[in-house]
Symmetry: C2
Subunit: 103 residues, 2 copies
Amino acid sequence: MELDPVIHAPTRLQIVSLLAAADEAEFAFVRDTLGVSDSVLSKHGSALEAAGYVAVRKGYVGKRPKTWFKLTGKGRAAFTAYVENLQRIVAPSGLSVVPDERG
Amino acid sequence: MELDPVIHAPTRLQIVSLLAAADEAEFAFVRDTLGVSDSVLSKHGSALEAAGYVAVRKGYVGKRPKTWFKLTGKGRAAFTAYVENLQRIVAPSGLSVVPDERG
DNA sequence: GAAAGTACTTTCTGAGATGGAAAGAGGTGG
DNA sequence: CCACCTCTTTCCATCTCAGAAAGTACTTTC
């Protein structure tokens, strides 16, 4: 029933949630969507990559270097487990962090 | 869309969730349910009290001193808001939860 | 071709949180 | 008087996180 600390940090939770929804996302898009600085996103991206939760792809758009983030299978599994754990913690209160399947 | 840091810390999230479900709970019950040390619970209890989220009641059972925790209205509102923010962050990922089976 | 810009990454720094151990505090029981 | 119960507080060592600034590696502009 532990809450994975790699995912729990608010900024990383938002990054991982975004990637779980968007599949692959550009560095600048994530940075601007979350409203964080370059250095913060770079560091959290590296942390997620080090955990094996995110794959970082580098390439070019025209001649400009770009970076994309994408959840790995492991990252998706960790996110799912994280949300399930959250749900177990919160559910007894009658509230829910995710929609009911029959919603 | 901020995640209230007073609630977000894993141990406090568990305390607050427990209190949201149980209304009022004894110090020892919370400590044993969460598996934390006396000092940790005492400190988090004080932090939640300082934030106005939890009321700490002291009394006796027989001749032994006991402490009870209870969510305040403010604490309940903060918890509700916290869970709603969590939902907003997590919801786009499309995760859902299967309702509890009975039995 | 020097300067400025793009797209990050890394380093430096400093504040704050967290938890365990251990010592306290205040009362009860043997 | 000493041990025990129920916390509270202090001490300590670790970790994390954010922002600023400098660095890397090119590309574009003047």
